[in-house]
């Protein structure tokens, strides 16, 4: 404790003077980002047991290359290095999660360069990118390494060691994804492959199906998504509208005739869950207002189903989100917040 006189001498050196407000909430960008990172980890852990140890290596390569790309490019551009905020880690994780588990370990590196340097840093850094960086990374890899991206699928390890696939020949063990089977051979072939409908639901729900590294376990993705919803970092509007519209449109158009498609398989297969909770909800590349978010989500769902049913690829969520990203500024412009005074009765 000091008396007033000595206080007066020391006070002018240490007192801060600023405009109100003088308190701030504890939520920071890095807090949000690292929470997202943590909620993204369970799918990675389960993927090691489903597809083997190399998923961890691919993910690590992806994360490290994203973080290094961000640090180096920001240094070179004389900008503050922001790798501590965790957004590059998220991009790295998501980039690895949406490529097949059987790809060569170095494949994420060109993707990371494209995602971080071109899509994010050159656009102006965090907050200024138009497209989701991880998805651009994947789209780039799809164009440059199409064989690896479309055929390096692995069958889930049922009774083997997690190192089963480590040195194996990728081509020999390739296994078609459920969406590929569905697209080219139909529902009957899918049921035949997995045994029965109930096996499909349980296997898909917990993640034991061929697919990208982080997209298979609907259960764990849902868990992570619920954490973000509980923390109020995201709202339900985008995930629900993406999944809802995908399910509805698949049910209507996805079957042999109208209204015979299987909506549940549509959501559980492919990357719809991961995209709906973790990629379509990216703050920077999604609209702010609730109605705009619903339209954004429905747009993604509709484009996903269109690409799945009519397009050349079995899965469409990646391109659906990328196609809806540039619509966001327009959606923000069209759907403004309602002013308080607009409701005035005068």
């Amino acid at each position: 404790m000091m008396n007033a006189q000595s206080e007066k001498n020391s006070i002018s050196n240490c007192l801060h003077v600023s405009s109100a407000p003088h308190i701030q909430s504890e939520v920071t960008i890095s807090k949000i980002m690292w929470t997202v990172v943590v909620s993204l980890l369970p799918p990675l852990i389960i993927s090691i047991f489903i597809f083997g140890f190399q998923t961890l290596i691919i993910t690590l390569v992806s994360v490290v290359s994203c973080v290094v790309t961000e640090a180096v490019s920001q240094k070179m551009l004389n900008r503050p290095v922001t790798i501590k905020d965790g957004s590059a880690v998220i991009t790295g994780l998501l980039l690895a999660y949406i490529i097949p588990p059987g790809v060569p370990w170095w494949l994420p590196i060109p993707g990371a360069f494209m995602a971080i340097y071109v899509t994010k840093i050159l656009m102006g850094g965090l907050g200024y990118n138009i497209f989701n960086p991880a998805l651009i990374g994947r789209a780039f890899l799809m164009a440059t390494y199409p064989v690896a991206l479309t055929s390096a699928w692995l069958a889930p390890i049922r009774n083997g060691s997690i190192f089963t696939y480590m040195n194996a020949n990728v081509d020999a063990i390739s296994s078609a994804t459920p969406l590929y089977v569905l697209k080219h051979y139909g529902m009957a072939a899918l049921i035949e492959k997995f045994g029965s409908m109930s096996v499909i639901y349980t296997d898909f729900f917990f993640g034991f199906r061929p697919g990208c590294i982080g997209e298979t376990s609907a259960f764990l993705i849902l868990l992570g998504g619920l954490v973000l919803l509980y923390k109020k970092y995201i709202s339900w509007h985008i995930p629900v509208s993406v999944m809802g519209s995908t399910a509805l449109l698949t049910w209507i158009f996805g079957g042999e005739s109208f209204f015979t498609g299987n909506p549940l398989v549509a959501i559980l297969s492919g990357g719809v869950m991961l995209g709906a909770f973790f990629m379509a909800t990216d703050y920077v590349t999604s609209p702010n207002q609730k109605i705009a978010q619903l339209i954004f989500g429905i747009g993604i769902g509709a484009l996903t189903v269109l690409i799945r049913l009519k397009g050349g690829y079995p899965e469409g969520i990646c391109y659906a989100i990328l196609l809806m990203n540039p619509v966001v500024p327009a959606l923000d412009q069209w759907f403004k917040a309602k002013r308080f005074s607009e409701g005035a009765t005068q």
Binding site: M1, M2, L15, S19, A20, T28, I29, N288
Partner: protein, 522 residues
């Protein structure tokens, strides 16, 4: 018992926006109002409150978004880069024309005054000033003020003088006419204690033809501040009587007292007082006063919000709140009005909350108007070493000050001594990540994110399109929630100033051609 009372009552709140900062009321919530001994000297500003014309000056003071006072060169160094890289010298504030509503001095130097004497006469929008201690008029000179320096009457104490007491002299105030009541209140120099401190007489002089039908009493909803809570707890009777006086003056019957549900004792105390009142007056009672528990949410006490919460009415943009048929006063104002009418006591002392972890002993203090922060600090045992910010007012709206010489004014709700961990000063801010938190937090449905981007790009004058001039009342919810720690409301304040400047320039440009034409014609 408490919980049942609160569960039955439906909690009302405003629909859009708002935040729930940590209440921090525990520091002073349970401390009864304590009378601070008379300080040896008080400095009473001639300008006790901020009038509407002063808006521009307030904004100008806020132009320094964040500055650390450097004692050596007497200049304020701006910490936030990229916005204003210039240095403002302190003179920038001092030489400005300040348009406070001043009172006329009614005493001379060396004149002897006793407690409660009239020392300043209110003119137009000013309020009467009364001596808060007995003693001599030491000098009338400039005294530090949150915005620079202001002329003040400095009184030094006469140590032999006895404290004045105000017994009840006029319990039967009902017999007085509206005009007499109004004159009594005006004479006592009462100002609105909720915020800007508009003199009560101008707040009450509503046009007769207005459709006024409801008096709203609100109480502060900022963190830390508990002075209103203690007043409601300890002076519930006076508040109800004051409300009845206000109703009489306004010539209406209905009064709603909105109290947030984090103050359950206050709700019970006020309800008890109303019950006693009905029992006492029985059928004679013509007034309808109700206590309405409100959801705890900042800014629950703001004009537009409390009007909507309690009456469902929305104020049209650009209109005064009386257009919605309500008159809003603070609960403490009602108490002070009771004192003025029933005890003939002028308004020269008030209850403030002194809180924060930077003060040795937080308290709810009854202090004389004009008591310097220094005396309060000494009385409460001094400050801790790690005090980082002294705030006059609440943490959401208050003014940070750098001098302990600043005296308490009629509108000071409290003084906070905040430590580093309480204010969480960020050295810089990050770009907008478009999370939309500020859009959800804004109680007026504005777009602080877009305004901030415009201001950063140097296009402050173009932000009028976002409606900040009409609707933004600078509650600070946007800056509070921003995860990038962007000074959003500070950006808006800056933008408002730039818009005003642009409008003035435009006016000048328009008036110039006229002048030249006139010259030609002559």
């Amino acid at each position: 018992m408490k919980t049942t009372v609160l569960n039955i009552a439906k909690l009302l709140t405003f629909q859009k926006g708002g935040i729930n900062p940590p209440e921090k009321m525990r520091l002073t919530k349970n401390l009864p109002i304590e009378v601070m001994p008379t300080p040896p000297e008080v400095a009473i500003f001639l300008k006790q409150h901020v009038g509407t014309a002063c808006l521009e000056h307030c904004i100008r003071a806020d132009m320094c978004l964040h500055f650390v006072r450097q004692p050596t060169d007497n200049a304020c160094k701006i910490v936030f880069k990229g916005l204003q890289n210039t240095l403002y010298s302190e003179d920038y504030f001092l030489n400005d024309n300040i348009c406070f509503n001043s009172s006329e001095v009614h005493v001379q130097q060396e004149e002897k005054v006793s407690e409660g004497d009239l020392i300043g006469k209110g003119s137009k929008l000013g309020s009467n000033l009364h001596a808060s201690i007995s003693g001599l008029v030491k000098t009338i000179s400039d005294t530090p003020h949150p915005f620079g320096k202001e002329p003040a009457i400095v009184l030094s104490i006469d140590p032999d003088a006895k404290p004045k007491s105000y017994p009840i002299v006029n319990e039967n105030w009902m017999s007085l006419s509206r005009e007499d009541l109004f004159a009594k209140i005006k004479e006592a120099g009462i100002v609105g204690l909720g915020g800007a401190g508009i003199p009560i007489d101008s707040k009450l002089s509503v046009k007769r033809d207005s459709k006024l039908d409801t008096l709203i009493l609100n109480s502060e909803s900022e963190p830390y501040l508990t002075s209103n809570y203690r007043i409601m707890l300890e002076h519930a009777f006076e508040i109800i009587e004051g409300a009845k006086i206000l109703l009489t003056i306004l010539d209406i019957k209905e009064c709603i007292i909105g109290v947030e549900n984090n103050k359950p004792d206050a709700i019970i105390a006020l309800n008890q007082a109303i019950e006693n009142d009905t029992q006492k007056n029985g059928s004679k009672n013509q007034f309808k006063i109700v206590v309405q528990p409100l959801q705890t949410k900042y800014p629950q006490d703001a004009t537009d919000q409390i009007t909507f919460t309690l009456t469902g009415r929305i104020k049209p943009t650009g209109k005064r709140i009386s257009a919605s048929g309500v008159n809003i006063q603070n609960v403490y104002t009602a108490k002070v009005i009771y004192d003025a009418v029933v005890c003939h006591k002028p308004f020269y002392e008030k209850v403030i909350t002194v809180s924060g972890r930077g003060i040795a002993r937080p308290a709810n203090l009854l202090v004389k108007i004009g008591t310097r922060l220094r005396d309060i600090v000494d009385y409460l045992g001094g400050m801790t070493q790690d005090v980082a910010k002294i705030v006059i007012g609440g943490p959401m709206l208050g003014f940070a000050v750098s001098s302990l010489e600043i005296p308490i004014t009629k509108t000071t709700p409290g003084v906070l001594f905040l430590t580093q961990d309480e204010i969480d000063i960020q050295p810089s801010y990050d770009p907008c990540i478009r999370c939309g938190f500020c859009l959800q937090a804004c109680p007026m449905g504005l777009e602080p994110n877009n305004v901030s981007i415009y201001v950063e790009a140097g296009k402050s004058a173009d932000t009028e399109q976002f409606g900040i001039m009409e609707d933004c009342f600078e509650c600070g919810c946007c800056a509070y929630v921003c995860p990038s720690k962007r000074p959003l409301v500070q950006f808006i304040k800056l933008a408002k100033l730039k818009i005003l400047e642009a409008q003035q320039k435009k006016k000048q440009r328009e008036s110039k051609p006229k002048e030249s034409k006139q010259r030609e014609s002559t």
